[in-house]
Amino acid sequence: MMEESIVYSYRPLLAILCPATAAILILLSSKRPNVRESWTIIAGILQFALVASMIPTILNEGVIKCTFFPTMFEGIAFGFKVDAFGLIFALTASFLWILVSFYSIGYMRSLKEHAQTRYYFCFAIAIFGAIGVALSANLLSMFIFFEILTVSTYPLVIHDQSKEAISAGRKYFAYLLTAGVFLLFAIMMTYYLTGTTDFTNGGIKALAELGPAYKLTMVILFFCFLLGFMKAAWMPFHSWLPTAMIAPTPVSALLHAVAVVKAGVFGIVRIVCYIYGVDLMTSLGLGLALACIAGFTMIVANLFAIAQDNLKKRLAYSTINQLSYIILGAGLLTTEGIRGAMIHIPFHGFMKITLFLCAGAIMVATGKKNISEMGGVGKTMPVTMLAFTITAFGMCGIPPACGFISKWFLCQGALQAGEIVFLFVLLIASFLDVVYFFPIIHTAFFKKPEGVAEEVEVRVKEAPLFMLVPLSITAIFSVIFFLDFILGLNIISMYFYKLVEIAVGNVVP
């Protein structure tokens, strides 16, 4: 582990203030839609610039600290500490927010949705929460943003306000706020045991030094943490995620493929690598337990996915499966495994968001939600379906999208850990990915639309440009990440590889 140089800066604070300010401005300009939407865009770009401006410091093996105030509890300060791992998540979320904002404009206006001010307001607050989670210096600060994220996404989930949406919202709260309760308990317990909740490279020392008498306590504590991160949608606590798919598609895209669920896995990796530490995890045997849960989720979620006909629901189960790749990578407790887990966070974000954006585009252009109705969509919406196909390939771990790389690392991690079982789990899960993604592609390109007997001339009817461009950009990025790895350029891919390198170097001695 290297000595870190600490840089004190207000940039993290400014970065999260962007969406917070935007939220207030959005409320104030609710009567003028164009002004309202431009606040979102401006805040998004500013925020991304601020987050990106932190890259050089981190690449220099530094951390950026911004302590706001010491809290009433001795040893816990409310503040931000940006390290390589946090920055990866922050970069992903803030970059994708810009794209999804554009997409939202196209989506919400095409469908003439109601309560758009509320929608943009909550979206901004949710991003505020997500970036806060990414940059937090300790568990308590993280918890505060975590709860803000939960509460602010609720109005988005039930946006439709139908009976079904409201009961979905109840389920969403029942799961995620119960999780919050477990998390709070785990955090206070950690504080009680160690006197600190700071994220420390290689784990909190005081926790590792507690000794064998506390072994059971630490195991229970770890499971409380796991329950607390129900946002990661590990089975059997996953069912809130498919239910939440009733939300408008941009919400499902950014929040339930990137911000909310990634906050969950982000938290799990934080616990594994920065609270417990790899050594303690190994000696308690918790890595294996975590990997088993993840392995189980991967296989079962994929089986569920095959059975879904609603495209968004199928994607939701796919998300559950892919999140467990990340958890599995962390659970393997090897260099390559953790590397794969960390790199899969941005990569899965970019790929899954493309898939969701495509689903939304299809819905706006054709009104179709179910896969069985999508015959011939490939001909009417070629760009959308091309983007879909590329990223679906990536999900299955097939080049030319970046999913291949993270899966490659994960497989190596499994080998490194000497757990051949998990290598097979990874491969089977990837195979199942193929099983449920290829029928979609097949239907879209090779099946005729229902009710059309003869070959009619197909007219291209894509979604509005506001929607098409963002999804193309994310698809292109998923390919660029792959090419960048092959060519080793490291510039066009936002330094993700370098950042992961540093993060892995920090946590594994």
């Binding site: 809290t71 009433m72 505060i144 039930i158 409201i166 919202g169 706020l177 309760v181 206070m188 504080y191």
Partner: protein
């Protein structure tokens, strides 16, 4: 300097004088009542802040009434705890007075003058309980406040009469218990001064009379503050009283009863007594834990908003008492004292909103709240913030209470209490979210989006609600910021004084 030295007594005197002034001025012109009342409370609040500042910088204030030396004369003793509660109570009273203008004009147009007279008497009582350092004097003020409260509740007529009658019976029983306790202590020590008692009592701790007196105090004050299972007077009283009265009773008066409870607990008696002679801490912690759960569960079953909030208060009183029960831990008493402010702010806001909804729409049943979020956006926003605070979403005040009590329970290794606190979060979620869901998201049958027109309550009602709602968040952050803000050091000082040698050193 000469005037400021008399602030402890002036806080009470001007309040009482203003009650009579209102009575006389009100006969001449009804419109003078409100300005007089608001002016008085503002002056009182200013004095309270001044006292708080003085206590904080120079230490405890002793004021000898009429110059008679204690323990023969009545002594007013103000340390950080009194001053803290005094400021909270007067602040709530000020907002309530502003709020009262329109509310009482609508609900009791013929009784405006008597209302303000009794209201001012109630405040007199509350301030008196807070500043006094004499247990019998405390009883007198407790009765002044209670009698005023009985009258204010009864003003509404109808079912409120029965509620008030219940309260009279229960309250009088509570007062009797308290008086018996005071009498017993006087019989064995010959003193009524708290500081003096805390010095005279230790050798007598084994005496059954002293122990009985303690139990009488606890039971009497438990009735007054509606601790489960002695809360039965409370839901009816809160539900049927005029909106203004509910606000002040729920937010200010219950806090003062709790103040008296804690004061007797730690300043008349001492931690040694509670630990060794009447080991009551565990028992009341358990009672409080049951109160938290039962209060919340009953609240879930209510369809009347005010009644639901009333039961929620039962559970919130449980929080404070749980903190008191865990006094031996680092954060226990902190949690209790912090929650006194938190609950005053939050519950005050919620009852103000409940009153505003009744004022504007005449709705009290939660089922009828559809579309209210559009109709009364500011009121509902205030409600939402306060409800989130009740649930304990960070960084609101409710979250801070939860943190303190969790830390205390963990330190005491009482995992049952940990579970209770966490479970109550979810129970609070259930009954508050039901309301929010109705207000904002559930659509009525055949109801169109744009049909609902905005019809906000008057500014004098919305403003107090918004002030309190924003305080829910601001104060939460201030607590969290801990030592850097003036709030936590005041509580620190209060806790130290309580757990230390009693109210004061020997006179």
């Amino acid at each position: 300097m000469i005037v400021t030295a008399h602030f402890p007594v002036l806080v009470i005197v001007i309040s009482m004088l203003s009650a009579f002034t209102i009575l006389i001025a009100g006969r001449w012109n009804k419109k003078t009542c409100l300005p007089i009342s608001i002016a008085t409370i503002s002056v009182q609040l200013f004095m309270a802040f001044f006292i708080l500042n003085q206590v904080f910088t120079r230490g405890t204030i002793h004021y000898r009434l009429g110059g008679w030396a204690p323990p023969w004369g009545i002594e007013y003793v103000i340390d950080a705890f009194n001053a803290y509660v005094l400021v909270i109570v007067l602040f709530i009273c000020l907002l309530t007075a502003i709020y009262a203008k329109r509310s009482i004009e609508r609900e009791q147009p013929h009784r405006i003058v008597p209302f303000y007279v009794v209201f001012q008497l109630l405040i007199t009582g509350l301030c008196g309980i807070t500043v006094t350092g004499d247990i019998f004097n405390l009883y007198v003020f407790l009765e002044i406040a209670s009698l005023a409260a009985y009258a204010l509740i009864a003003v509404a007529g109808g079912r409120a009469l029965k509620a008030s009658y219940n309260y009279v019976i229960m309250g009088s029983i509570g007062a009797c218990f308290y008086l018996l306790g005071a009498g017993f202590l006087y019989a064995v020590t010959g003193s009524l001064n708290m500081a003096d008692l805390s010095h005279l009592l230790p050798p007598l701790y084994e005496s059954k009379v002293v122990q009985a007196a303690f139990v009488f105090f606890v039971v009497g004050l438990s009735i007054k503050m509606a601790l489960f299972p002695l809360h039965i007077w409370q839901p009816d009283a809160y539900t049927y009283a005029p909106s203004v009265v509910t606000v002040i009773i729920a937010a200010a008066m219950s806090k003062v009863s709790i103040y008296a409870f804690i004061r007797v607990f730690f300043s008349v008696f001492t931690t040694d007594f509670i630990r060794i002679y009447v080991p009551i801490a565990t028992a009341i912690s358990w009672i409080a834990a049951i109160a938290i759960i039962v209060g919340s569960v009953i609240a879930i079953m209510q369809s009347n908003l005010k009644r639901m909030l009333a039961y929620s208060s039962v559970s919130q009183v449980g929080y404070i008492v749980l903190g008191v029960g865990l006094y031996s831990t680092q954060w226990g008493l902190h949690g209790a004292l912090i929650h006194i402010l938190n609950h005053a702010i939050t519950k005050g806001c919620l009852f103000i909103v409940a009153g505003a909804i009744i004022y504007r729409c005449g709705l009290w049943n939660i089922r009828d709240f559809e579309g209210l979020g559009k109709k009364m956006p500011y009121t509902c926003a205030a409600f939402t913030l306060a409800a989130l605070s009740m649930i304990g979403i960070p960084p609101s005040v409710g979250f801070i209470t939860k943190l303190c009590l969790l830390a205390a329970s963990l330190e005491a290794t009482e995992y049952v209490f940990v579970a209770v606190i966490l479970a109550s979060t979810l129970l609070n979620l259930v009954y508050f979210w039901r309301v929010i869901e109705r207000m904002y998201f559930v659509r009525g049958e055949g109801e169109e989006e744009n049909e609902i027109k905005m019809g906000e309550a008057p500014v004098s009602m919305v403003l107090p609600a918004l002030i309190l709602a924003s305080l829910c968040i601001i104060v939460g952050i201030l607590w969290l910021a801990g030592a850097k803000t003036p709030l936590l050091p005041v509580v620190d000082q209060a806790v130290n004084a309580l757990l230390g040698t009693g109210v004061v050193a020997a006179p």
